[in-house]
Amino acid sequence: MDMNVIPHPALDDAVNRALLRAVEGGLPLDAQPYARVGERIGISEDEVMARLQHLQDQGVIKRMGVVVRHRALGYHANGMVVWNVPDERVAATGCRLGAVPCVTLCYRRPRRLPEWPYNLFTMIHGRDRTEVLARVEQLREHCGMHDFDYQVLFSQRCFKQCGARYTSLVAPTEPHP
């Protein structure tokens, strides 16, 4: 299934879009954050909470909570581990890897042969490179991945990082309801 072309139906709703724009940068650190958000977009506190619940139920919001920055917390090494997994085993392998706590992303992507044979991408954070490599070894051991060719691409420099700008994806000039 190609998820790249499915905008969720919940996003057809202008209020949901306004709500996502209002909260994507974070809730206000205020005793009543949902009330503050509601004031901003012209709906009640209850409606803010109900809509956020709905967006979570629909899978538009993956989780809600504290979003940490790995690097500031001492996780200085970040390895993108790419695997070449036979197509018929990629879903089962991906599901297994995606549930391992040290794995922070797990996606299937297309191969681009001949230059790029890897179809499963995982992200692994560690305090240093040794820790990341040790975790990769554990994954190979515990997830039965010994036969699969893989590479670890450590990040060296960050040129740009900002949260996905969903704001720029929905018309910024929509009137408030």
Binding site: M1, M3, N4, I6, L11, L20, E24, G25, G26, L27, A31, Q32, P33, M49, L52, Q56, V60, I61, R63, M64, G65, V66, V67, V68, R69, H70, R71, A72, L73, H76, M80, A91, G94, G98, C102, V103, T104, L105, C106, Y107, R109, R112, F121, L153, F154, S155, Q156, R157, C158, F159, K160, Q161, C162, G163, A164, R165, Y166, S168, L169, V170
Partner: protein
């Protein structure tokens, strides 16, 4: 890397560890968290403000499922070493690019492009190819296997 690691209190560690998902949908969510941690609501808010200012917390709020609002792709370029910085700057110019990293590989520049629809994504990638003279590896997500419960921190 030169970033210094922040010193955290035990309560702050719990705040970071235990509230990455399932944030209360309650009119006073921070009061709910405070009750669990055995501190005051104001104490929770102060800690979060401090952790945010110190860069340990990027935000408190929703993490969106990729590709449900717009479309995105992971792209890579194999850039000759002497052109890396200039090429990275060229790529970062696009507002559609939200991550841009150098990684250790022949494909040494990796970036995420996000746009309202695939046509705009293709136009950005074509423009980058044309301006850089390099072929872009376009690797859109096909399936997401990741169960996101936040990042489990391990304290030593």
């Amino acid at each position: 890397m030169t970033t210094e690691t922040l010193h955290l209190t035990r309560t702050e560690r719990r705040l970071l560890d235990e509230f990455q998902h399932g944030f209360p949908l309650d009119p006073r969510p921070f009061a709910r968290i405070a009750a669990e941690l055995g501190i005051s609501e104001a104490g929770v808010l102060e800690s979060l403000q401090r952790l945010h200012a110190a860069g340990a917390v990027s935000r408190v709020g929703p993490v969106l499922q990729p590709n449900r609002v717009g479309v995105s792709t992971l792209a890579a370029l194999a850039v000759p070493a002497e052109r890396l910085e200039a090429t990275a700057a060229l790529v970062s110019e696009y507002p559609e690019v939200n991550h841009n990293y150098q990684r250790e590989h022949r494909y040494n520049l990796w970036f995420v492009v996000t746009a309202p629809e695939r046509a705009r994504l293709d136009a950005v990638l074509a423009d980058i190819e044309q301006r850089s003279g390099l072929r872009v590896l376009d690797l859109p997500m096909l399936e997401d296997y990741f169960i996101d419960l936040g990042f489990r921190l391990q304290w030593t």
